[in-house]
Symmetry: C2
Subunit: 230 residues, 2 copies
Amino acid sequence: MAKYSAQHRVLIAVDCIIFGFDGAELKLLVVQRALEPQIGNWSLMGGFIEEGEDPNDAASRVLYKLTGLKDVYMEQLSVFGRPNRDPVERTISVAYSALINIKEYETQLSDAYRAEWIPLKDVPALIFDHDEMVAAAKVHLRYKAALHPVLFELLPEKFTIPQIMALYEQVYNVELDKRNFMRKLRSTGLLVKQADKDKEGSRKGAFYYKLDQETYKDKFSSFLHFIPQP
Amino acid sequence: MAKYSAQHRVLIAVDCIIFGFDGAELKLLVVQRALEPQIGNWSLMGGFIEEGEDPNDAASRVLYKLTGLKDVYMEQLSVFGRPNRDPVERTISVAYSALINIKEYETQLSDAYRAEWIPLKDVPALIFDHDEMVAAAKVHLRYKAALHPVLFELLPEKFTIPQIMALYEQVYNVELDKRNFMRKLRSTGLLVKQADKDKEGSRKGAFYYKLDQETYKDKFSSFLHFIPQP
DNA sequence: ACAAAAGTGTTGGGAATACACCCATGA
DNA sequence: TCATGGGTGTATTCCCAACACTTTTGT
């Protein structure tokens, strides 16, 4: 069949906003850009969509190339298409937000792409409109995590309650009450207490928990309310 | 500067999921496709992005062309980019969701684009992946409206409480309790009661209300909870 | 023994639900 | 006068936020 011949075509990129948590701090995975322009400057990990490739697959591919990880929690964020956002050539970018637990993933990433985990509060200025993308991803994460237990995606298989709490506190930039938070958390039925403790954070040690995968799947779409309303 | 020469370029479209409410029923605005393939079949209103055009502007342009309306509430939904979604040529589409109150907008639209308001429950099968887009838009609308008073965008300047309630009931496909709903609504401070009544729906007539624009702007981003949790 | 973080319970207030009757009007 | 939809009030439950002390253990 004939093409839509009168129309003009543009480049499509994907960019990944990759959040990570190491048990203490919320971080962002950024790379040093490998091509001109702005070679060597901090950037989100991204890439162009290939022929016949679904944008979602492109994002997975890009993430895999960087981290070696598959089946990562990833969501489409939104499209960034301001005409001159890339000075070289018109490029429309689809931003994706991914959640990774840093600890379980111990490969070397810095070598190939000069990638680095940088604490979210210390992230330097990024190229093009990547700062906007990060800002949008933060908003989205707050929005999502206020309703769905999505932050567990950032935690390793075994985690402690003080860790989750620190995570929530950093995402929302608030201080939470231990007692209320724990009660809320327990009432969800998402947690399975383990016998052993994590002794890294304190003398006493904090009990490990695992996610109850069944409950997790069931409850994922039902609305939860972790963050107090002022 | 040199182009990204090795990459391949694709068509970008926008498609608009346009919700409307006439005071009684929630509807979708669909058109009969004007080009091959599938000419004459039901479709969302869409169009290609032009050179140097921001996708958001393209969506506004498309909406304006169809309805003559500007400054309509519109949000980017997500990207649909399955490789063969358009059989003619690879086209990636950015879906937008718009909210319109049908009554205030009394132009003729059917002529130019053979457009029609169809009750949401009766919408026929649409071309390509437009059904998926509509499904995503419904989910998004529920999500959004559960937290933000966005459904007021569907109402005319003067509306009645039974109308809003009918709207919420249709969006969530539930039955609400008049008394609780009214109390909740009033407690938001969003409503300004008018002196006159709408006599169309009943003998007694229902008082008109207007939105308190100040409060609306203030409260738009704060979370509200209109829908009871079972 | 003491420092440092983990863990535990209670209580009061406010919000959400459930629920049933009167009102105004046109036909 | 009656049928129709509009509008109002209360009792109860449940959830949430506020709040302080004990436990464990390594040094």
